[in-house]
């Protein structure tokens, strides 16, 4: 039982990071009907950007007090979000807007996105350390057990990740359903030409959608980098899984992305690493395969996902 809970908590932790990334896919898909293939690299850039800031503040991590650590974490989240937002903004400007202006077919967008993804991953690799298992400095005891649920320990870092992700998702939900920008995003997603006739500046809305999605992914990059290691190719696997999560929840649907992310994180942790089913089970080296198989099964049997795929209606 405690094993089960252990993996459940791990799954929720991962899942909340997937959800943050998936939101970016879903937002962009909502307004552009386009898979932003380079979104995983936005996520990666957030890890590097926040690392530079955190490293500048705490050095190698000695002598940071409790309150200081909170401050550093907030600074890391913010700097990750800002880096992600900046990269996403530039991405839209350089790789998508020129194509949109000319009404290029979807395949052209996809290829441009793939090019951008490769370019960003390798440019960061060139600028920073290409192969290294980079780690954030340890400025707080990430593995400190805060409390236990039925024998399963809940660690400080997991709480930080889950709380930060939930807060960000809450803000996003408010933003999209409550503000003028959110309304124009939903209007664009619903019907871009009509929204333009109603006075919504489509270009600006799309650009801001990218910025919001990028900020969330950048923050997720910081959390992911703090929890594990970060490299210039770290974006690919979480990016694909976050995409799977977005599809699972119903792509274009914001709450769907949150639910899908959590579900996928839990599923990929519980299904392959489950000694609580039987000892001769498949094992963690199949985690990625599980995620991909789930993705393919959803696409084949329920391509609209759990909550259906309308950004305009569902949020």
């Amino acid at each position: 039982m405690s094993d089960f809970l252990n993996y459940l908590i791990l799954g929720i932790t991962r899942g909340s990071m997937y959800a943050l990334i998936a939101l970016g896919y879903t937002l962009v898909y909502g307004v552009l009907q386009l898979i932003n293939f380079a979104h995983s690299e936005v996520f990666m850039s957030g890890a590097f950007g926040s690392y530079l800031v955190v490293h500048a503040i705490v050095g190698n991590g000695q002598g940071v007090s409790g309150l200081g650590a909170v401050f550093v974490i907030i600074a890391g989240l913010l700097s990750g979000a800002i880096t992600g937002a900046a990269v996403a903004f530039l991405l839209e400007r350089v790789a998508y807007r020129p194509l949109r202006r000319r009404g290029a077919p979807k395949l052209a967008f996809l290829i441009s996105a793939i090019g951008a993804s490769f370019f960003l991953a390798q440019l960061f690799g060139k600028m920073f350390n290409r192969l290294g298992q980079n780690q954030f400095p340890t400025y707080f005891d990430a593995n400190k057990v805060l409390f236990t649920i039925a024998g399963a320990p809940v660690r400080l870092l997991q709480v930080i990740i889950i709380v930060a992700a939930l807060l960000l998702m809450f803000f996003l939900d408010r933003l999209v359903s409550g503000t003028k920008l959110g309304r124009s995003i939903r209007a664009t997603a619903e019907d871009a030409p009509t929204a333009a006739l109603m006075g919504v500046d489509i270009d600006r809305t799309i650009s801001r959608t990218f910025i919001i999605g990028g900020a969330l992914a950048g923050a997720a990059g910081f959390l992911f980098g703090t929890a594990f290691v970060f490299t210039n190719t770290m974006g690919f696997i979480p990016g694909i899984k976050a995409f799977a999560a977005a599809v699972l929840g119903g792509i274009g649907n914001i709450r769907g992305a949150m639910i899908g992310g959590l579900l996928l994180g839990i599923a990929e942790n519980l299904i392959p690493t489950a000694p609580w089913v039987s000892t001769a089970w498949i094992g963690i080296q199949w985690t990625d395969v599980v995620a991909f198989v789930i993705l393919i099964l959803i696409l084949v049997f329920r391509p609209t996902g759990i909550l259906g795929e309308r950004l305009g209606r569902a949020a």
């Binding site: 386009l34 898979i35 690392y51 530079l52 490293h55 350089v94 790789a95 020129p98 194509l99 000319r102 009404g103 290029a104 077919p105 979807k106 395949l107 052209a108 967008f109 996809l110 290829i111 441009s112 793939i114 090019g115 951008a116 993804s117 490769f118 370019f119 960003l120 991953a121 390798q122 440019l123 690799g125 060139k126 600028m127 920073f128 350390n129 290409r130 290294g132 980079n134 003028k180 920008l181 124009s184 500046d201 600006r204 690919f236 694909i240 995409f243 799977a244 599809v247 080296q285 199949w286 990625d288 395969v289 991909f292 198989v293 993705l295 393919i296 696409l299 084949v300 391509p303």
Partner: protein, 742 residues
């Protein structure tokens, strides 16, 4: 949202250009961050004085965009494009090419410094390497530019003459310096400089001769090529052939560099067969002359039969040449000549270049035969409606056909002269990816399905081969030779393609991309995780996959002696696949693909079974990939899951897109160029950076030339046909990328 800060538009543009140049500065160079100091790479890239060069480029681009009307007015003038090309080639000769092999990096700067610091070298060389190269480039480029801008005919002629002179001096100075320094030198720096200078001279001549306001390069080229179809090929053949017969090395045991005449002296009185000794004495010159005269006459008089006769004569001449080459090397080995290393060894470039020349001349004759009666349409019609005239030639561009045929000649006879490194690169990097790109072109280019897991089928083909040749831990029921594994692997990939495609092809295009990507990763992870001890895990196959063997009892041939054997096997496979797909493109199925790609609903409404058609495209693409996998497995022997990572899938997509989606020649050219370039630039660009550059190329390509290097013929025909002869419509349509209905 109501507060709008409105800067003048040029501010944003300037910032964008400067930002772009900073990014470029980060992309170029060998710097790399380290774990201890993340700022290092950034400082190296951005705070070094060299950033100013990049910023200068950014400012120039900014000025070019801001004053694009003015720029365009002048850039359209005749001669501008050759001028730019010449300057670029010359710069490449300075920065990229080697000038002298034995010397360190061998670039012009290094070699020039060495030459100028040696007083004993001939003064011409010292002057050239000292300052003439730069001064010549600056003077001729500036003079040509001035001549174009102010339309000074005399200046254009003068700068053309100076360019030719500088080019000649470059070659002379290089050979003087090399003969002084000694050593074996195969560098191309001087030749590149000569070509660059000749192109510059061409710019001057064009500027001087042209009487029109704007350049019509394409029309001009087409007109030249259509004047006598095949003539450029024959001319090329004459030039190459004369070079081969007079100057090139034919036989070179122990670095002796013997020309044809020297070879004849060497073999005088040896046990050389009659044909070969006759060839060395007179037959070689004779067959070359006969073929060239036949081809030239056929081309000039547009005689169908004569053209075919010339082509046939070229084939015979090539066969005789090959027999002679074989005889030379075999006889020398048998006689124990010092330095000779066996059959087909020690041959210089001469024989192979002569083969290329003969092939080229024969191809010219063939083109003349195929295109016989189209000699210059009536002048009134030609001048009156250029667009209409072009409409008739759509799809039958003589230029493209000539280039393709010449490319075939190069593919056949160039590799034997290449270094071992390039032979290896040709087979493992270039050839296999060309095959993959042709296969993926069916899926992406013709059926409009984005397949991001293409390498998975390649992996399936490779592992199938490994299984049936007994190289995996699990032994097969029957052992097969790799050649017999081809049908099995194709069948396996077909089935896999149908199984994967069946349920997923009904999905939207972008979902299909993700599913195929996931499939590719699943296959790779399965290979790594090694279920049932089938794939032997990340270490790769357990025993080397054997080389293919042809054993017909009386004749037995085993591959593996050299890369060249694999190259020719690959050429045969490529030719078969190419022929098959070429016929397929225009078939009922090919047209159904085009219909599905352009508008699936409309295609369905007209009775196309869209799911079946898409499934066929997917499966055909998959089986081509499997075929490539068989070849790969038996060629490398050992391979592991690392060979089938996602990057490779995306690289193949990049090749197809770069070459031109839906165009067979485009796919080949795209794969060849993009795989050749990193090997070619391996001294300039760190190999880890090639993915970065390819990514940048993809973005730029999608923005500026979405139809690719060689756009698909069908699309071009559709667009030009629609455009009629209204140039403005034509312009608009050209801006629209090739429409794929994903």
């Amino acid at each position: 949202m109501n507060r709008r800060v409105s800067l003048p538009p040029w501010v944003g543009r300037l910032l964008a250009c400067l930002g772009g140049s900073v990014v470029l500065a980060m992309m170029v160079g060998k710097q790399q961050g380290s774990k201890d100091d993340y700022g290092l790479a950034f400082r190296e890239a951005v705070l070094n004085p060299r950033i100013f060069y990049f910023l200068l480029v950014g400012v120039l681009v900014f000025l070019g965009i801001t004053y694009q009307d003015v720029v365009r007015r002048y850039a359209g003038r005749p001669g501008v494009r050759p001028l730019l090309a010449g300057v670029l080639i010359l710069l490449a000769s300075y920065f990229l090419m080697k000038w002298y092999d034995p010397l360190g990096d061998g670039k012009l700067a290094t070699f020039g410094a060495a030459v100028t610091s040696t007083p004993a070298v001939a003064p011409v060389a010292r002057i050239f390497f000292g300052w003439l190269w730069w001064v010549g480039l600056l003077v001729t480029a500036a003079a040509t530019a001035a001549a174009i801008v102010w339309r000074l005919r005399w200046l254009a002629w003068a700068s053309a003459a100076v360019s030719v002179l500088v080019g000649a001096i470059a070659v002379a100075a290089h050979s003087l310096a090399v003969s002084f320094a000694g050593g074996i030198d195969h560098s191309f720096g001087a030749q590149t400089a000569l070509i660059g200078n000749l192109v510059l001279a061409g710019a001057g001549v064009v500027a001087a001769m042209s009487r029109v306001e704007t350049a019509r390069t394409r029309e001009f080229v087409e007109r030249v090529m259509a004047f006598r179809p095949g003539l450029p090929l024959v001319a090329m053949g004459v030039v190459l052939g004369v070079l081969a017969l007079v100057a090139a090395t034919w036989f070179d045991p122990g670095g002796k560099n013997l020309t044809l005449v020297d070879t004849q002296h060497l073999f005088a009185g040896s046990a050389l067969s009659g044909v070969a000794s006759a060839y060395l004495a007179w037959l070689g010159y004779a067959v070359f002359a006969v073929v060239v005269v036949l081809a030239a006459t056929a081309v000039w008089t547009a005689q169908k039969t004569l053209g075919y006769v010339a082509a046939g004569g070229a084939v015979v001449a090539i066969l005789v040449t090959l027999a002679t080459l074989h005889d030379i090397s075999a006889t020398a080995t048998k006689a124990g000549y010092p330095g000779s290393a066996g059959e087909w060894q020690n041959l210089g470039t001469g024989g192979w270049v002569l083969c290329i020349a003969l092939f080229s001349a024969g191809a010219g004759g063939l083109i003349a035969a195929r295109r016989a009666p189209v000699i210059a349409p009536e002048p009134a019609l030609a001048r009156g409606s250029g667009a209409l005239g072009r409409l008739h030639q759509v799809g039958t561009s003589t230029t493209l056909l000539s280039l393709t045929l010449f490319g075939v000649g190069l593919a056949l006879f160039y590799p034997p002269t290449a270094t071992a490194f390039w032979q290896q690169a040709l087979v493992t990097d270039i050839g296999v990816y060309v095959l993959l790109a042709i296969g993926l072109n069916v899926v992406i280019g013709w059926a409009g399905l984005l397949d991001l897991g293409y390498i998975a089928f390649y992996a399936l083909g490779s592992y199938t081969t490994a299984y049936f040749t007994g190289s995996l831990p699990v032994q097969p029921p029957i052992h097969l030779s790799p050649l017999w594994a081809i049908p099995v692997a194709i069948a396996v990939c077909l089935i896999a393609g149908v199984v994967l495609g069946g349920p997923t092809l009904r999905l939207r295009g972008d979902y299909l991309a993700i599913v195929t990507l996931g499939f590719g990763e699943i296959i790779r992870i399965i290979a790594v995780n090694n279920p049932g001890d089938f794939t032997n895990g990340p270490r790769g196959v357990a025993r080397a996959v054997p080389h293919p063997v042809i054993d017909l009892g009386f004749i037995r041939f085993e591959w593996g002696g050299s890369q060249l054997q694999y190259w020719y096997l690959l050429l045969v496979l490529l030719a078969l696949v190419f022929l098959l797909f070429w016929r397929l493109e225009g078939s009922r199925l090919g047209r159904a693909w085009a219909a599905v790609r352009e508008d699936e609903v409309a295609a369905q409404a007209t009775g196309v079974n869209t799911t079946r058609v898409k499934l066929l495209a997917f499966a055909i693409g998959a089986s081509t990939s499997g075929l490539a996998g068989v070849f790969f497995a038996s060629q490398v022997g050992y391979f592991n899951p690392q060979n089938f990572i996602l990057n490779n899938s995306i690289l193949v997509v990049a090749f197809v897109v770069f070459g031109g989606m839906g165009s067979l020649t485009g796919a080949i050219a795209g794969a060849a160029v993009l795989t050749w370039l990193p090997d070619f630039l391996r001294d300039q660009v760190p190999s880890e950076d090639r993915i970065m550059w390819i990514g940048a190329v993809l973005i730029v390509m999608m923005i500026f030339r979405p139809a690719g290097l060689i756009p698909a013929r069908r699309r071009k025909a559709e667009l030009t046909g629609l455009a009629g002869h209204d140039p403005s419509v034509d312009q608009d349509l050209r801006a629209v990328p090739a429409g794929e209905g994903v």
